[in-house]
């Protein structure tokens, strides 16, 4: 029995460790002794996710790692794969669900299929080898897991990864597209959320353009892309008269007012007919829509000013030490209403907006009243202090006189 267990252990040792040990040694051992470009892959591969799952140099490059003589011919050696062949090379494993499930059954296996539908894939088929292939986005020898913050495809690295080619004027000169997308994106509200607030749910290039099947969304589909994260605004827009008009005029929905890559934080100035308003780009001053836009903006401004006024009262009362937490809690409701009103502007329905504003105005009136009574209370406290101090002062003076009077009686 003991013998059979020892035999099993030795067998397992050879099966599990010896092959990987030998494989790793052959290529990496020699390349590590070389310099620069020949050494770098061997070093980078130590961090590579493929190495972690037991793959080696031969998995992509072929060859025999046990072969000592480097000049000897080995038919299985493929050398450096050509750019045009890279999607197929990676796909030979990544599109094989049977093979991939050994490592991660949840990993998708349609990347190559999607790639060939992408703008990059389409151009590669025509022989344009400048377009992105797998290694341009994922790296070559030091490929990290996508969840690793240093991975090229980790959310906050994606704008730079895409921008590596798309922001390069020289590289992109043969293509008739802008080279400012990454730069524009970095000024957007989405980039602020991702890069400043470290909110990984904020969209990056691939969330709108797709990743492996990368292509710009069609005019009609932009709204569908945005509503993945902004369903409420999109729903309101779809029910509004703008939807039909935009479709007819082939104007992209959200992008028409908010832009595409440089989506700045939305402001109330986008509403109405003043400077920065987007409504006036389509609506004439004589039109009803123009008047509605003016009314919406005016009512919203009025609501905000009332809210600010109530907030100021609470702040002043708070500074004077009056407890106003309940009123402040109510003010939060007004803030929520403001957010709802801003969202409702996507419906372009004056009735709906007015109804919501009325709801919020009632809340603000209560808060303002609470603020007034808190300020009144602060004034009352100060007056009370003056009165009390006056009487204490009088009593102290009286005491002082009494003390002087008594002290005169004490024999020195």
């Amino acid at each position: 029995m003991k013998k059979s267990i020892s035999g099993l252990v030795i067998f397992l040792f050879f099966i599990l460790f010896v092959p990987f040990h030998t494989l790793a040694d052959g290529c990496i051992k020699c390349h590590k002794e070389l310099e620069n470009a020949l050494k770098a892959p061997a070093e980078a591969f130590q961090m590579d996710v493929h190495q972690k799952y037991g793959l080696s140099c031969t998995s992509c490059h072929g060859g025999n790692p046990e072969q000592e003589d480097i000049d000897a011919k080995d038919d299985s050696f493929k050398g450096v794969p050509l750019r045009k062949d890279i999607p197929e090379l990676c796909g030979s494993c990544h599109s094989d669900s049977l093979y991939m499930r050994k490592f991660n059954p949840n990993l998708r296996v349609d990347q190559m299929e999607l790639y060939w539908t992408s703008q990059h894939g389409q151009l590669l088929k025509t022989g344009d080898i400048k377009v992105a292939v797998c290694t341009d986005c994922h790296g070559i020898h030091g490929i990290l897991e996508s969840s690793h913050p240093r991975s090229w495809i980790f959310p906050w690295n994606i704008p730079s990864t895409c921008g590596h080619c798309h922001s390069n004027k020289e590289y992109m000169k043969d293509y008739s597209i802008s080279v400012y997308q990454a730069e524009d994106y970095k000024q957007s509200v989405h980039a602020h959320a991702l890069l400043e607030k470290k909110d990984l749910s904020a969209p990056v290039c691939n969330d709108c353009h797709g990743n492996h099947g990368a292509a710009p969304p069609e005019v009609t589909s932009i709204g569908y892309v945005c509503r993945q994260c902004h369903p409420s605004a999109s729903e309101l827009f779809s029910e509004s008269p703008h939807k039909e008009a935009f479709d007819e005029l082939e104007i992209s929905e959200c992008e028409a007012c908010h832009g595409n890559h440089k989506i700045l934080p939305p402001s109330d100035e986008m509403l109405g007919t003043g400077e920065g308003a987007v409504c006036i780009e389509c609506h004439d001053p004589e039109s009803t829509a123009y008047k509605i836009a003016t009314t919406i903006k005016d009512e919203l401004d009025d609501f905000k000013s009332k809210m600010l006024n109530a907030e100021n009262k609470l702040q002043r009362a708070d500074k004077q030490g009056v407890e106003i937490s309940e009123a402040r809690f109510r003010l939060q409701e007004a803030h929520t209403t403001l957010i709802q009103v801003r969202n409702l502007t996507h419906s372009f329905s004056l009735d709906k907006i007015e109804e919501k504003i009325k709801e919020g105005t009632n809340v603000i009136a209560e808060v303002s009243e609470a603020g007034d009574s808190a300020l009144k209370e602060a004034k009352f406290r100060k007056r009370g202090l003056i009165v009390a101090t006056f009487f204490i002062f009088l009593l102290a003076i009286a005491l002082l006189f009494k003390i002087k009077q008594i002290e005169k009686k004490i024999p020195q």
């Binding site: 030490g321 106003i324 937490s325 406290r381 009370g384 009390a388 101090t389 002082l400």
Partner: protein
């Protein structure tokens, strides 16, 4: 009317010996000299304690000592109850001024060597009163159940937990469990309104009785013949009352312009916020614990500091018996220097807590 008053007085006099007490009060005198000013701090402490009792009883009408409603009940007191803000602010401000006044009273007694026999017991009862009021402060601090008090209590009891052998059991006993919880607030509440007041009244009664029996101590080196004696009643008590009025005005100004804040409700799952520190009168110990090295020879630094404070406290308590010179009515500059070092240490460490919070 006068007749009725005389009748009432006669009724109570025959039962309570009011005339005898009056006669005693008339005979009681206070020495008057260049350091007499410090005598008034005893009266100020008593006055502040009375305010504490009155405002504390009023707060009890609305305060609810549970984890779910403690904060809300204070919020209710401060926003809905008529003059609730004033009662709560007066309670909190006077609690802090009281501790400050006790420290002044204690150090003035120390530097005047008022602890020397036969007033050694007055010193000892006073020392225990200081401890009791510090416990009052510690237990009362948690009662509003706000973020600062919650974490300060946690930090404070963690320190107690580091004591060898008894540390864990002591911490668990104080908190009513392994951490600050609903059980802690109940314990602290009963400690604050029942146990501590009982012992305080006991020691305070004894302290005042001793002061009445033994009278005020004169500083060493003041010849008896040259020190003027003034009647306690009404001369001294009227001056005392003048001091109380000044304190009352100060408390009023503080309450109106700087009402005691409630802060955010404690969240037991939140991480300890930065810069958390105990009430100011504990900060000299808190900063010491932060400054001591992790290890000193083979002993843990924190433990060494705790033992240092315990031994220091014991020496401070027994100073009437250690200062032999003062006991023989001789000047003892060594003990004056010791007092000065302790005072400077407390001031410097307290100042460091506030001016260099990231030490």
């Amino acid at each position: 009317m006068k007749n009725l008053f005389q009748k009432l007085f006669a009724y109570f006099d025959s039962r309570l010996m009011l005339s005898t007490i009056g006669e005693l009060a008339k005979k009681k005198t206070i020495p008057e000299h260049k350091h007499s000013f410090w005598y008034y701090f005893g009266g100020i402490c008593l006055f502040l304690f009375i305010i504490q009792v009155i405002t504390g009883i009023l707060l009890l009408l609305y305060y609810k000592p549970t984890m779910d409603s403690a904060y809300e009940s204070i919020q209710f007191i401060m926003s809905q109850v008529k003059f609730g803000w004033l009662i709560r602010s007066v309670h909190s401000w006077t609690a802090n001024i009281l501790i400050g006044a006790i420290f002044i009273h204690m150090f003035s007694a120390f530097f005047m060597k008022a602890y020397r026999p036969p007033r050694d017991l007055t010193w000892i009862t006073g020392f225990f009163l200081l401890l009791l009021f510090m416990f009052f402060g510690f237990s009362g601090y948690l009662l509003p159940w706000n973020e600062l008090s919650f974490f300060a209590t946690r930090v404070g009891t963690d320190i107690a937990g580091t004591l060898p052998l008894i540390g864990k059991a002591l911490k668990s006993f104080i908190l009513g469990g392994p951490d600050v919880s609903g059980a802690t607030i109940t314990r602290f509440f009963w400690l604050h309104i029942a146990i501590l007041p009982f012992f305080t009244l006991l020691f305070l009664g004894l302290h005042i009785l001793l002061v009445q029996i033994l009278g005020m101590s004169k500083p060493i080196g003041f010849p008896k013949a040259k020190v003027k004696e003034v009647p306690f009643f009404p001369n001294f008590i009227l001056k005392d009352a003048l001091g109380w009025m000044l304190i009352l005005t100060l408390v009023g100004i503080l309450c109106v312009f700087f009402p005691w804040e409630l802060g955010k409700k404690a969240d037991i799952f939140a991480t300890t916020p930065l810069g958390i520190k105990p009430e100011w009168y504990f900060t000299f110990m808190f900063t010491t614990l932060k400054l001591v090295p992790a290890h000193f020879l083979f002993i843990e630094g924190e433990l060494l500091a705790i033992f240092g404070f315990l031994i220091g406290g014991l020496i401070w308590l027994l100073v009437p018996y250690l200062d032999r010179k003062a006991a023989m009515e001789q000047k003892s500059p060594g003990f004056s220097l010791l007092g000065l070092i302790v005072l400077l240490y407390i001031i410097i460490m307290t100042a460091l807590t506030y001016f260099h919070p990231n030490l």
